[in-house]
Subunit: 450 residues, 2 copies
Amino acid sequence: MTARYWCESAWLGGDSAVDSVLVSVDDGRFSAVEPGVPCPDGAHVLRGVVLPGLANAHSHAFHRALRGRTQVGSGSFWTWREQMYAAAASLHPDSYQRLARAVFAEMAMAGIACVGEFHYLHHDRNGRQYADPNAMGAALVAAAADAGIRITLLDTCYLHGGLSEAGEYLQVNEVQRRFTDLSADRWIERLGDAARLESSHCRLGTAVHSVRAVDPDSLAKVADLARSRGMVLHAHLSEQPAENEQSRAAHGRTPTEVFADAGALTAGFTAVHATHLTDGDIGLLGGARCSCCFCPTTERDLADGIGPARRLRDAGAALSLGSDSHAVIDLLEEARAVELDERLATNVRGSHDVPSLLRAATVDGHRSLGWEDAGAIAVGQRADLVAVRLDTVRTAGASPAARLATVAFAATAADIHTVIVDGRCVVDDGHHVSIDVAGELHASIVAVMS
Amino acid sequence: MTARYWCESAWLGGDSAVDSVLVSVDDGRFSAVEPGVPCPDGAHVLRGVVLPGLANAHSHAFHRALRGRTQVGSGSFWTWREQMYAAAASLHPDSYQRLARAVFAEMAMAGIACVGEFHYLHHDRNGRQYADPNAMGAALVAAAADAGIRITLLDTCYLHGGLSEAGEYLQVNEVQRRFTDLSADRWIERLGDAARLESSHCRLGTAVHSVRAVDPDSLAKVADLARSRGMVLHAHLSEQPAENEQSRAAHGRTPTEVFADAGALTAGFTAVHATHLTDGDIGLLGGARCSCCFCPTTERDLADGIGPARRLRDAGAALSLGSDSHAVIDLLEEARAVELDERLATNVRGSHDVPSLLRAATVDGHRSLGWEDAGAIAVGQRADLVAVRLDTVRTAGASPAARLATVAFAATAADIHTVIVDGRCVVDDGHHVSIDVAGELHASIVAVMS
């Protein structure tokens, strides 16, 4: 049966929003998209500006438990990591499923139709495989199903405890035992089992944590596997200057060069952060048409710095966006922050225009996660619709020509009233249709942090 | 008659929020503040974390009409200024009162109890005084009364059209004719008439637009007047490198040095932006115990750069906050942005702890605006209360020790449910008690921008 939605205005990929768009949905996909059509009887009316589904290309769901807590006092990226490790140590499959279900539901309320979960919390507290070796991954996939969003489970290879200043790989510590499969071959073995998690709402992707946690030989194995199976590959890359120094000490090369030499840089590769790059790094990432996933609210939070988003795009890279540590879950804030932080770094306005920022949040984010059929309101695409109100105090007063810019630069997650994912309504009138999100966030965080 | 409010938790100025605070209000002021008290019958219950009234120390109300519009395409600070001038040209007292009433009501909904309106739109489109020479200022004062917030009308001296690269003061252009009183003496004369606008909710303050618009001799006259009458003095200072270059060309000194030599730098002076400063400038502003008003969302928007907030505080300056161009009206976002942007600039976390950021948003902002008796929940202070929900998706999960940090780093204006100003309830359950804010924003912006 065909469902019809009449959008007061919608973004169809151009420079501004288009008026009066009637979209038809069959079997979870758009079967017709007609601009300039009066609202027919029986169509669901979506007021404001309607966007395609947003893609959150980099998430660590459990970090949501740290929100606020890590802002007490001062510290560095590395002291923040201690707090993050303490949270990681407390999780098991049941508690993680409850927490992730609430976090993914918060994402749904922010218009996120698809999350890329960068998952390395594989084993129990003693580093032993669970009876189901993918129990934690399965918990995340079930959580996304409950929340009504798609997931790319980025099953992450994590082998070493870091690099010493002298450039030697370190043993994993007590917490990191949960992360490691001990070898790339055993990671590949577990990944084979994880394939059963794939479904209409779940894809499996690959990741290496970083050059700090995976040596070049193992990295090449992961990259080979990803390429041969057509899976996406994600990795943290040059988030902190210390990582670059360690990589140079260990390998005589930048992290990007190590990834390049391992054959990892392809259009299926996403470099997460990509903050501290050399000119050569930018050329490598751009030349290979990689995606670079910026996480500006986390990069502000962790004092990472401002990455060269414009230069990466100019070199040929695509941009994607992630809420990463979930200091904030608001992809509109991430999108504008790419431009606003670049303004701070360069004193130039307009390095990224509104359509560029929205493409990063939608179609290019979905591509980074392996969903070529999502992120645009177009016939054949998955039927995601995200309706943003233009009648709140934040958005009121937008002129027709500036509606899209108002959404990108002034709207927040709180202004999103309706979210449809794969043709199913997940958020209605600002409420999740099946989950008491704030209540479950509270209960699940108290359970793991007490 | 005594009104009583029982706060689930409240910030009384310390490092964290205090539980179960009963506050009593008589004649618009706090008559008792009792922590650790069970909720008595008949008290109004305020859930979440209750803050003192926020102070928005730098506002140009009419810029709200530009939100979103200035994000279409690219440009610089100076092209942005062209759009801002076009909006300025279209206003008259009635339309400005309607627009400002809606903008100030948006501020009330964001917990802002007091606004510093940096007002230089004095005259009619031809540069002639209105029949009431303070008709525009009166419109702003009436708008604040309607919206239920206090105002410091920062009556701004604006004499010249800018500085040439050679350092010569330029004639005002067609739009700027509305801004200028032609001489400091005539500005002083008009200010004398404006004194009648003062009331229990309005104070008069002084401002000079900038070293670009006011020559040193005139600046000295304004500073003398402000000092002799005990009025605050505000000025835009070193927002853009070009201003510094022009000042050096014209006067052989930085803008801060020009203000210092004019006798302007006192504890009653607020430097707005203070972005591009020399070490000497920082010493002058700190040594004189000036306030420095950071407007980070505007400074991001206009690609101004990141000012040295921590070094200014270390030198002795106070911080205050402003939403300035109203790209966003959310003082919580301004507060955390001071810290987050400094993290980007320095790669250090925790230059400003949570109480420091909240002091800038409350008591120090009020001091910058000349209200020594507001901005703290304490006996004798004006009875402002701003209640922030801890049960929304953004704030849920906060531990008791992290409640205040969660408010500062994760809450938004959308999480503020109750606002009391001078003992009167202005915002209840997230709604302004007397104004359809989004509706009036839309109508008043369409009226002036069409």
